[in-house]
Amino acid sequence: MTALDTAAATAAPVLLKVEHLCMRFGGLLAVNDVSFTAKAGQITAVIGPNGAGKTTVFNCITGFYRPSAGRLSFRGDDGTVHLLERLPGYRIAGIGVARTFQNIRLFPRMSVLENLMVAQHRPLMRASAFSVAGLLGLPSYRKAEREGVELARHWLERTGLVDVADWEAGNLPYGAQRRLEIARAMCTRPQLLCLDEPAAGLNPRESAELADLLRSIRDGEGIGVLLIEHDMSVVMTISDHVVVLDYGRKIAEGSPEAVRSDAAVIKAYLGEDEDDPLPPEVAADLGVRVDGEGA
C-alpha cells in the first residue's frame, strides 16, 4: 500500500485509487485498463461521450459489477484500506462509499424522511440491538432514533426539503427527487459520494443549485465527490479534477482547464474531422475557441 501512503503525504489524501480496471461483458471490453484517483475534499468528474464506459466504472466502484481485472483500493476513515472489488455490494456502503443512480431510485411509497432513515439502517440496526432493544422500546434505541431524525433534518435543510419531509417520495417533483437522493446518500455518512449524472433532467437554475450543493458538501464535509456528468457547465465549474473516457479507455486527465484544451478530448467529443466548425453551444460548453468565430 505504499502508493497510497505516499499519495496521502501530498496535500489532499487519496480516497480511492483505481488501478488498471477492466470490465468485460462477453466479447465486449467496456472498460479497458483505466486508472485514476479521487481525493478527499475534491470533486472528481468522469466524463466521456455516450457508451464510453463511465457508468460501468461507477458500477464497479460501488460493487454492482465485479471487475474482470484491476484493483480498486479505498481508504476508510479509520485509515484501513479496503479492496472494493472483493467486497459484496452492501458492504461497500458500510465502509463509506455512497452512490446515487442515473434513473433515480428512491423508495417511492415511503416518506421523504423514511427514505433518509433507511439510509441510516446500519447504525440504527446496531442501536436497536437487532430489533430486541427496539421492540422493548429501550431508551438507548430511542435516543439513536432521535439522533437519526436529526441527521435527516440536517440534510433536509441543506437540500431544501424540510417542508415536504412527510410526503411520499414518489410525489415529489423531479428536481426535488434528485436532491433527495443526494441527501439520502449523505445520510450514510460517506467518505466518498458517487453521483451518476446528478444534473440529468434539471433546468439551468436547478443545475446551478446542484453545483452549489456539491461545493458545500465538498467544503463543509471534507469528503470526496466522484461524479459522472454530461452537463459540461456543471463539470467545468465545480470539478477539481477531470477524467475523460472514450471507448472504455482513459484518454485524458487533469484540471478542467487542461482537459478542455486537450486535443484527444476534442476529437472524442467532436469526431475526427476537425475542419467542421463546432456548433456554438458545444464550443461554449467546452470553452474552446473556434476559428472564424473570433474572440
Binding site: 457508468t55 458500477n59 454492482f64 443512480f101
Partner: protein
C-alpha cells in the same frame, strides 16, 4: 434393460404431453413476463371438452376412431382457445403495467375460479371414457413373459407432438404473426409504435397456448381414460417446471424440458417410489430455480442498474 426401454417409452409419451403444456407457459412468459398460473386449468378445460366431445360424437354415431379423434381435437382446441382468450381479456389485460405480483395473484384467482366452475357444472367425480385406440406393437418379449410395448396411442401422441412442434416453430419463425410476437417480446412499446397491434398479438399468444394445452388435454384423456377437475394443478406445475428447466421463453427449451420431466418421472416411479414421483418434479423445480434459473436453453438476465 427391457424394463428401462419400457420406462423410456412411457417417459417420452408423458414428456410430449408436458411439453405441449409447457409451450403455453413459455410463450406467455416470453411476451408479457408473467407466470400464467391458470394455464394448467386451461389444459383441464381442454380435457373436459374432449370427454364431452367423445360422448357427444358417440351418441351421434361417429365411432370411426380417426374421424372421432380429429373432430375431438378440433372441437377441444377451438373451445379451449376461447377460454384462453377470455382469461387473458378479463384477468390479465387490465393489469398491464400493474405491480409485478398483481397478475400472478389474479392468475391464482383465475385458476381457483376455473377449477370450481368445472367442478360445479360437471361434478366432482372422475370422468371415465372407454378406450378410443387400443392395441400396439410388442417390441421385445423376454423369456419370462415381460414384454416391452408401445401402443398405437403412444405413437400417435409422440407423432402429433412432433408435427405440432414443427408447425409451430415454422409459424413463429416464418409468419407476420410470429414476427409481431417476437417484436412484442423484445419491446412492446416500440412494437406498438411501429404498427404492431400489441393487444391482439398477446391475445393470439394465449389462444395458441390454450390450443396446444387442449391437444395435451385430449391426449391425456385418451391415454389415461379418466380425468377430473383437479388434474390441472399438478400438470400445470410440472409443465411450468418443464418450461423453467428448458429455459423460460424458449420454445425448444419447453419441449426439451417437457421430455426431461416426463423421463425423470417415468424412471423415478419405475425404479424408486411411485408415491414420491411428484416430490421429484417439485424438487427439480426448486433445484433448477436455485442453481440455474435461466434453465438449459435460456439466456442469462443481467441486473440493470
Amino acid at each position: 434393460m427391457e424394463y428401462f426401454l419400457q420406462q423410456l417409452i412411457n417417459g417420452l409419451t408423458l414428456g410430449a404431453i408436458y411439453g405441449l403444456i409447457a409451450i403455453g407457459y413459455t410463450m406467455v412468459y416470453g411476451i408479457i413476463g408473467m407466470i400464467n398460473f391458470a394455464h394448467g386449468e386451461i389444459y383441464m378445460i381442454g380435457a373436459f371438452v374432449a370427454v364431452i366431445a367423445f360422448i357427444v360424437l358417440g351418441l351421434a354415431g361417429i365411432t370411426w376412431a380417426p374421424a372421432a379423434i380429429a373432430l375431438v381435437l378440433l372441437l377441444s382446441m377451438a373451445f379451449t382457445a376461447v377460454y384462453g382468450w377470455t382469461v387473458e381479456r378479463f384477468a390479465y389485460r387490465p393489469l398491464r403495467g400493474a405491480p409485478r405480483l398483481a397478475p400472478l395473484i389474479s392468475a391464482i384467482g383465475m385458476s381457483i375460479l376455473l377449477q370450481n366452475y368445472v367442478q360445479l357444472l360437471q361434478g366432482a367425480r372422475v370422468k371415465p371414457i372407454p378406450p378410443v385406440v387400443q392395441g400396439g406393437f410388442t417390441i421385445i418379449e423376454r423369456a419370462d413373459g415381460f414384454a416391452v410395448n408401445i401402443s398405437y396411442l403412444q405413437i400417435l401422441i409422440i407423432l402429433t407432438t412432433v408435427a405440432l412442434m414443427a408447425g409451430f416453430t415454422a409459424l413463429i419463425n416464418g409468419t407476420p404473426l410470429g414476427r409481431a410476437q417476437r417484436a412484442c417480446e423484445q419491446d412492446k412499446k416500440m412494437a406498438g409504435l411501429l404498427g404492431v397491434d400489441v393487444d391482439r398479438t398477446i391475445s393470439l399468444t394465449f389462444v395458441m397456448g390454450a390450443a396446444l394445452a387442449a391437444v395435451a388435454g385430449v391426449m391425456v384423456t385418451m391415454y389415461y381414460g379418466v380425468i377430473d377437475f383437479f388434474i390441472g394443478f399438478l400438470a400445470g406445475v410440472k409443465a411450468f417446471t418443464a418450461a423453467v428447466l428448458g429455459g423460460i421463453g424458449s420454445l425448444p427449451g419447453a419441449m426439451l424440458g417437457g421430455l426431461a420431466i416426463g423421463l425423470i418421472e417415468a424412471f423415478w416411479s419405475g425404479y424408486f417410489s411411485i408415491e414420491y414421483k411428484d416430490v421429484a418434479a417439485f424438487s427439480i423445480l426448486v433445484l433448477v430455480l436455485i442453481f440455474r434459473p435461466t434453465g438449459l436453453l435460456g439466456r442469462p438476465e443481467i441486473e440493470k442498474v
